[in-house]
């Protein structure tokens, strides 16, 4: 893959980095047979708990495990501090952006982001214009995808402001490490992530509409048990101690949302929804949606229920908008952005398109609305034929694409094929914002490409996960 990647344990091939000295010693002392045995144990554990996901379009593989890589990824407290400050700044800007876009639209008036990029965007919801989001925080839960390329530099690869998933793996992976390697855990000073559900609950409570009591009724809305992330939905409802509901469990009367209980209707104040905008309410959005609740949006507009996240936040996930994030952060916070953006070519601009077409073999090209690693081209890893085919797609609809240089994502030691080998990783910390500010549990979901050299970490594409440690310096 061209230039050597930064390895988080071995740097660029010199000394073992301080953060990993303890883990390295442990790895040297632990025979591969033991790791293999633990790997099998972990698999059995995940199966028994039912920690599975469904892959779209694969019938026989209805429920699969996401590979759990045993070897934790280590970040130091000082590295975490950089991320924490940068993420807080970025997510505050994202919240301000959403409020502004559906409010006074000052950022458009200032000419920072081109209007047509917003108004012609599928993820922009005109229904939200002028809606006062209960609690004032449209994106209480954000998942920001981070990559690093050397010891100092972290890049934001993607913002997920819709319904970021994966937090159950952050918690389950930690639990698994505790169970599988209690000694290792006992001697490492790892900051705990277990309080995430409490933080999330506090955030959701803080955003309840004024009509709610001091003990608001909260529910997690899932598309149902056939959804790929259903395990996570039920996990979160369980940990939050709130009801897990499907659309059919809810109904709206006089702009108030109720759930159907054994004792009749019960009013719902806050919905942590894991259903996409399109499917939320057949009266407002897709009329064929069987997953939604007729009238939900009207109740929401009336300020009678909080949706977390708000409707229309997907505009911030758009990869063309992403390219403006440094300016967006500056505009709303008045500060220089602390986290870097990956340099991005907007194919909608002629000059950029020309450059991209000339340099396809070295670039990563992505659809602006894409997610899950689908529909993208990783130039250096593609054949001439694949590149030629992609070129046609790109030329026919350049507005739909952005391109970025292929980053040499950092690698971490992973246990694969009975041995330790470096594999590329990214990181998704979960950023919570309530009425009292932003909190980030120290850790996140590390996704790892299990194939040698691969840069695609998405679970839908065979990627695995790792426990992510933030250790005291």
């Amino acid at each position: 893959m061209g230039k050597a990647a930064f390895d988080e344990m071995n740097g660029f091939g010199g000394e073992v980095r301080a953060a990993y000295s303890q883990l390295k010693a442990w790895l040297d002392d632990t025979p591969a047979e033991l790791l293999e045995q633990r790997r099998l144990e972990a698999e059995a554990l995940f199966r028994r708990f039912g920690i599975t996901f469904a892959v779209y379009g694969q019938k026989d593989a209805e429920e699969r495990l996401i590979p759990f890589d045993l070897i934790p990824r280590v970040l130091t407290a000082s590295e975490w501090k950089i991320l924490e400050d940068g993420l807080t700044q970025r997510v505050q800007a994202i919240n301000a952006l959403i409020n502004d876009l559906y409010g006074k639209a000052e950022i458009l008036k200032a000419g920072i982001v081109p209007e047509e990029l917003i108004f012609a965007n599928e993820a922009f919801r005109p229904e939200m214009i002028g809606v006062k989001v209960p609690g004032g925080v449209p994106v209480p839960i954000a998942g920001i995808d981070i990559v690093r390329v050397d010891a100092e530099k972290f890049y934001v690869l993607e913002d997920n402001a819709r319904t970021p998933s994966g937090v159950s793996y952050m918690l389950d992976n930690r639990e698994a490490t505790h169970l599988l390697f209690p000694d290792l855990m006992a001697r490492s000073k790892v900051r705990p992530v277990e309080r995430y559900p409490d933080e999330l609950l506090a955030v959701l409570e803080s955003l309840a509409p004024p009509s709610a009591s001091s003990d608001p009724t909260i529910a997690v809305l899932t598309p149902g048990s056939y959804n790929s992330a259903f395990y996570e939905h039920s996990f979160l409802a369980d940990k939050l101690g709130v009801e897990l509901v499907e659309g059919r469990d809810l109904f709206v009367r006089d702009d108030i949302v109720y759930m159907r209980t054994t004792q009749g209707p019960k009013r719902v104040d806050v919905i942590y929804r894991r259903v996409d905008d399109d499917f939320l309410d057949p009266l407002t959005f897709r009329p064929d949606s069987m997953l939604g609740v007729p009238g939900l949006f009207s109740s929401y507009r009336a300020g009678n229920v909080t949706l977390a996240n708000a409707v229309g936040t997907g505009i911030a996930d758009d990869k063309a908008i992403y390219s403006y994030m440094p300016e967006i952060v500056k505009f709303y916070t008045g500060e220089e952005p602390m986290l870097h953006n990956v340099p991005t070519y907007r194919c909608r601009e002629d000059e950029a398109l020309k450059y991209v077409l000339d340099h396809l073999p070295e670039l990563v090209v992505k659809e602006v609305h894409g997610s899950g690693g689908y529909g993208m081209l990783v130039g250096p890893a593609s054949t001439k034929k694949e590149i030629a085919e992609f070129e046609k797609k790109l030329k026919s609809d350049p507005d739909n694409f952005i391109a970025q240089p292929t980053l040499a994502l950092s690698t971490c030691p992973a246990f694969v094929d009975g041995g330790i080998a470096p594999r590329h990783v990214d990181l998704r910390p979960f950023v919570l914002t309530g009425s009292k500010g932003t909190r980030i549990v120290p850790g996140g979901l590390t996704r790892v490409a299990m194939k040698a050299g691969s840069l695609v970490v998405n679970s839908s594409q065979g990627g695995g996960t790792k426990d992510t440690w933030v250790v005291e310096d």
Binding site: R48, F49, E243, T262
Partner: protein, 315 residues
């Protein structure tokens, strides 16, 4: 209060697991009696009876298969096209459980999920007598683990009560069906008793509801058909009897009514059936006709399920 759909899933999860157990017991009893050399020359097909007890005789006949051991065993244990096969029951129970995962304890969830994962092993084991026995024993174990973990660990609130209601309604249904299939060999007191085959039939009924030992403890005499009817219908100390099921159903419905501060048609219907069972003597059952009695009971039991669903918005 809980979500109506949660109550519904818990109710059905318990029903399906109990149904799986019941089919396993029926298959075990059928396997046993069919292994006995036929001395009387009477025509009997235990495998057809097993199908009838599982309310699957007509559906099976439609498949055009021979009602022999392998076909019936396959159909009742492994056939996914049969919604009441053990496989379908456990799959459905697991689906219900997964939907209400937060309402279950970890142990109960794991008992059901592990059963679902281990099922394949038994499907592949083939059709030896030993493989059959092992499989059936395993099904009983699964049921025991699911019930046991719930009994030991679940909070005593609506979640528990609704799941127990499903359990007992299913159980009453099964006991009544098993008797109804064999009602012609269950005769009133002082009637002419047939040959040794009848004796095997009676013991088979008792085995199907794991009551053979209990019979001897309660009556301390050889098998009499009217006493079998007495045991399985009227004796509250017999956990699979209709009376015992209704004692429990009435009790759990009362728990819910107390928690909700409101009695309703479900409580009244359960109380009515329960007190009828308490105030009935074996002679009354036979006087009415065992088959008629059981048919009426099955209809009432079925209706109670619907009344509960209606009263608590389960549907």
């Amino acid at each position: 209060m809980i979500l109506a759909s949660t109550a519904n899933d818990l109710f059905w999860m318990a029903r399906y697991v109990e149904r799986a157990e019941s089919i396993a017991r029926t298959l075990a009893a059928a396997g046993r009696i069919s292994a006995i050399p036929q001395v009387t020359g009477e025509e009997t097909n235990e495998w057809s009876s097993a199908l009838a007890a599982a309310a699957q005789l007509n559906a099976f006949v439609e498949t055009g298969k021979e009602p022999n051991e392998i076909e019936v065993f396959n159909y009742l244990a492994f056939d996914e096209s049969n919604p009441s096969s053990i496989k379908s029951c456990l799959t459905q129970a697991r689906h219900n459980a997964r939907s209400v995962r937060p309402a279950l304890t970890t142990e109960t969830w794991e008992a059901i999920n592990t059963a679902y994962l281990d099922f394949k092993k038994y499907e592949k084991a083939g059709h030896s007598l030993r493989a059959h026995q092992e499989f059936l024993r395993w099904v009983l174990d699964v049921s025991l683990r699911v019930s046991g973990t719930a009994f030991r660990n679940m909070l005593r609130d609506e979640r528990y009560w609704f799941s127990r209601l499903g359990f007992y309604i299913e159980r009453a249904d099964n006991t009544a069906r098993i008797m109804d299939v064999k009602y012609h060999v269950l005769l009133p007191e002082h009637s002419e008793v047939g040959g040794s085959l009848d004796y095997y039939q009676w013991s088979s009924i008792l085995r199907s509801v794991s009551a053979l030992t209990a019979y001897h403890w309660v009556y301390r005499q050889s098998l009499k058909p009217w006493l079998i009817a007495d045991l399985l219908i009227l004796r509250e100390e017999m956990p699979r009897s209709l009376a015992s099921c209704y004692q429990n159903i009435a009790m759990f419905l009362d728990e819910i009514a107390r928690a909700y501060g409101k009695q309703g048609p479900a409580q009244r219907a359960a109380r009515t059936t329960h007190s009828r069972l308490r105030n009935t003597r074996t002679e009354d059952v036979f006087h009415k006709g065992l088959h008629e009695f059981l048919t009426e009971f099955l209809a009432d039991n079925n209706k109670l399920g619907a009344v509960i669903a209606e009263q608590y918005n389960l549907a």
